[in-house]
Amino acid sequence: MVDGGSENVVAIDARPPRWTLAAENAMRFSLPVLLAFLAGAVLLLAIGENPVAIYQLMLSEGFGSERRIAATLSASTPLLFTAVATAVCFRSGVFNVGVDGAFVLGGLGAAVIGYALPVALGWTIAPLAIGSAMLIAAFWLWVPGVLLAKLEVDEVVSTLMLNFVALGISGFLVNSVFLSETSGNNTTETIHEVAELSRLLPPSTLHSGFLLGLLCVLGYAFWTQRTPQGFEAALVGFNNRFARSVGISVPGTIILVMIISGLVSGAGGAAHALGQVHKFSDGFSAGYGFTGMAIALLARNSAIGILLGAILFGALASAGTTVQLFSDIPLDIVNVIEGTVMIFAVVELGRLTLWRGTGQ
């Protein structure tokens, strides 16, 4: 009895205090970002620009006024969804890289419903469109989920390839059956005005899809931190064999997280179609699924990290474009920063895993 008790005490003591964990997480998030901005600074110096001045300009373009903040949040909106959709799989050890395809198909579905249903349905069109998009995308990711859970088909390969299939399908449909007759380009009709998601801070394009995205992040935080199912899903990622031995269904969990990922991706695509683009067109997703992956990695699947990461990448996208109006730096600099964040985020992850593996 006494021994057992002391063991418990040891176990509790072995857990680092909360604040250390928080500090460690903060460092893991900010270090790759700082390194990336440093790399960007070197590049800026090399092309004869003053990095301090450029970064100042970027800061003011990203957050300098209400309008700029709104523009940044507007650019962050799709990333909230795709980052959550990715993280929910990653934390269960399911390397789902198919969020982009699910986002695109959800967006196409929502756009088509948004213009094809009769206007008389009024405000009900938007929830119908969002719901259908979620179902389409959930089905889309359920397929590789089942393939992995039942037949051990590698999910990286299947989801990666499914992105191309999704792009192909949507490209074909928007070029044929859903092509707007009045358009000189590959787009659908514009959705009904009643189906549009309302704008939060007009004239900015920031729309209520952002709130839906926040809701997804909150829901994700709750699910991971406060529900047994969320805990079990994390166990599957942490130690697959242990999870199985304590009676958690690994295949069931895999399919579940893939479906959740699909639902969130679909909601994101729908929000983007109904709130931002108001139609579906070629180039609907600017690789949001992949940026979402970078954010999930950077955030180490934490909800607060996802929120910060989405805002960071949103700011890079919006400010990175508009700084070109007021300086001579090309978009490539921003691409370098984004790419470097991703590399350092992954490198750090690899280093930690190695360290853990050899240390004990």
């Binding site: 490209g171 070029n175 380009n185 900015s204 683009v277 180039g283 109006l325």
Partner: protein, 343 residues
């Protein structure tokens, strides 16, 4: 240092432009690059070349800006440019037309330019290209070449073809012009028409083109974007001819691309910058860039001009002069709907 040099250069440019409004009074211009970005060797690069040439010639400052998320962020980018003191905002992205119409009402003092569509607003200039005129010349050239068996790869049948991306007025504008041009040479010519139902499927383009070649066509005009790459490939593989579109595609398969119907978006951007600098921005107007201002043209045919007899080209030039003078009117599907000879 770089900045100082740039200021000096701008100053030098200023002192050269003595006519009209001083460039210092003209607010800067912004050009928003479409999907595909700079370096596409096509639409964006061509437009930017004209934009930069316009800036250099007038001495006004301007920026070409790119975004990875140009579809969704268009409205924010354009609004930022208007808020940021730009006097002219032009977008090369088709999907920006709708938000631009709203922005133009919010910013009446800013001049707006959109391409390939017509948008309302006293401060909006809509740029369209007379693709039907250029296509007419392509058809006229093809109709002459298709019966000249002295040219390698040509059979005696008076059959040519055209492959469009989709059945839509924007595409049929090219096709109808092409047919009309071919019939102007030979009223009995057969023009085969097919649609690939896609702008990004080279394999389908290749398949359709090969089918047309098998049916006796020896020249196929591609109006199908990326799908057209397959059409040009098919011409190369079969030793026949394709006609390129939008940009000069002659060198994609030297000798097998008869000519290209080139849209000179650089002519359009440069001319608009010049008008803007002179205080004569064509707000509220639809600017038709046709053969007369070289807004559309046949390519220089660097790889094929030696195999095409002089007289054919002279005939094409004569038709061109007739179109410019108004003697020949080419049917414009986007303006007047479908003609009787093509439903």
């Amino acid at each position: 240092m770089k900045r100082v040099i740039r200021c000096l250069l701008a100053g030098a440019a200023l002192s050269i432009t003595t006519l009209g409004v001083s460039a210092a009074d003209v607010k800067p211009a912004a050009l928003i690059i479409a999907q595909g970005g700079l370096g596409d060797g096509s639409w964006n690069d061509t437009a930017n070349a004209g934009f930069q040439a316009g800036l250099t010639a007038t001495g006004i400052t301007g920026k070409a800006i790119e975004s990875k998320d140009v579809v969704a962020q268009g409205e924010e980018i354009m609004r930022r440019a208007a808020d940021g003191g730009f006097g002219l905002v032009a977008s090369l992205e088709w999907i920006h037309g709708e938000p631009m119409e709203k922005l133009a009402a919010d910013y009446p003092d800013v001049n707006w330019v959109i391409m390939n569509q017509t948008r309302k607003g006293d401060n909006v200039a809509s740029v369209v290209f007379a693709e039907h005129q250029g296509s007419f010349l392509a058809g006229a050239l093809a109709a002459q070449v298709t019966v000249d068996t002295s040219i390698k790869g040509i059979n005696e049948q008076a059959v040519i073809g055209v492959i469009g991306g989709v059945k839509a007025p924007g595409i049929d504008k090219f096709i109808v012009g092409y047919i009309q041009g071919a019939k102007a040479i030979n009223p009995d010519i057969e023009v085969k028409v097919a649609y690939s139902e896609s702008f990004g499927d080279p394999a389908k383009g290749e398949q359709l083109a090969k089918a047309m070649f098998n049916e006796g066509a020896d020249i196929v005009y591609q109006v199908a974007g990326g799908t057209g790459i397959g059409i040009i490939e098919a011409a190369k593989a079969e030793g026949k001819f394709a006609i390129g579109v939008d940009t000069d595609q002659d060198s994609m398969a030297p000798g097998n691309v008869l000519t290209s119907m080139v849209k000179r978006v650089d002519v359009a951007t440069e001319s608009i910058i010049r008008d803007y600098a002179d205080g004569k921005f064509p707000g509220g107007k639809v600017l038709q860039f046709g053969l007369d201002v070289k807004g559309v043209a046949l390519s220089d045919m660097n790889h094929t001009k030696d195999i095409i007899p002089e007289t054919y080209l002279a005939r094409v030039d004569a038709l061109k002069a007739d179109i410019i003078s108004g003697k020949i009117e080419v049917w414009d599907v986007s303006a007047s709907g479908y003609p009787d000879f093509f439903k």
